[in-house]
Symmetry: C2
Subunit: 212 residues, 2 copies
Amino acid sequence: MTKRKAPDIVVGRLPLYLRMLNQLVAEGRSTTNSQELGDRLGISAAQIRKDLSYFGGFGKYGAGYDVMYLRDQLRRILHLEQTWPVVLVGAGDLGHALANYRGFTTSGFDIAAIFDNDATKVGATIGQHEVQDVARLEKVIQEQDVKIAILAVPAHAAQTVADRLVAAGVRGILCYAPVILKVPPEVKVQYIDPVARLQHMAYYVGNGGDAA
Amino acid sequence: MTKRKAPDIVVGRLPLYLRMLNQLVAEGRSTTNSQELGDRLGISAAQIRKDLSYFGGFGKYGAGYDVMYLRDQLRRILHLEQTWPVVLVGAGDLGHALANYRGFTTSGFDIAAIFDNDATKVGATIGQHEVQDVARLEKVIQEQDVKIAILAVPAHAAQTVADRLVAAGVRGILCYAPVILKVPPEVKVQYIDPVARLQHMAYYVGNGGDAA
DNA sequence: ACGTGTGAATTAGTTCACAGCT
DNA sequence: AGCTGTGAACTAATTCACACGT
């Protein structure tokens, strides 16, 4: 069981560990160790052991980790034994790319519905889904008990939509809009901001020095 | 001038500050202060002052910051006074969305060329650009002195393409593929992994507790 | 003998609190 | 009087190094 509350930064690395374990499974490997995982992820072996120790002891003394067992444990810790229904708000180019992306399904998430407020987009089919009017947002969230949303709307609309998502019961928002959302403390927001990442890189590229 | 080498985590926040200053300019504001910036970004005022102090003193004692001046200083620090040409590799759904995204242009970046290795995609027009055969990658990078690339190819191709980018002179890679790239230390890589972010959120949503 | 799991040591990052400048 | 800029204090994160179990 959980010993002490794991720091957020540790939780954030667990998906990387899970991804590597899935890869090792795909390669047919049955055991690994913290050294190998660290080498392949660019993380120190000590950090991997320490991170895992927040959630329990998953290794065999002297023998490393059983790949499938550790993979299953990480899935359990991250609550990925279930498939999470996710609503996608915004059916622009980004919404299209996200809706067609196959990686979500294989990782514990299923796009349950796509919404847009643009009448010319409503009714269109993207992947398996018909774009619905955003007016139906609350209804769908409640009917399907959706807890996680992906926000792919323009910046000016993001807060308004986020408020509605939260009011309807959503507890996690993956936000692609370049704004800081105001949400209550029980709601977790993650931001994806490629412009900020490019600007961060430009600092080092422009300095010509070592990429810290 | 730069005092001590700024930590990477500090550099990573500068784009957020810049974004907020751009917003304040758009709102017609001429001055601000660390308290206001912090409130709007969800960051402590002390942290903002400390972060800026790595690069110099930009405020007026007792009077906060001149919005435009600080904005310009951040642009200079991040090397955004120039427009960076960027190559985009991968013309799938994600490549489409990135190529059509307007936010890059207004933030210091310009997509100089789009590449794909799929003959059925080469020659297609996306936004302003014709998709080129990836065979021309090195030639274009060298001719246009491209230092930054966006990698939107499948995971299995990412390392190979990254190696070619680096060999051709690219010093910063924004990687959308779910792999850890092996690059020399002078190359900066930033990863965008929505699946990992969703899994990170699932931990908290599944725990039902406070979103750390 | 081996690699985990973990307190201890170290290093990094954040916040405090106030001197200093306008 | 007010808000910045910053050393000092504090907190968080990482790495060390070794006891431990198989």
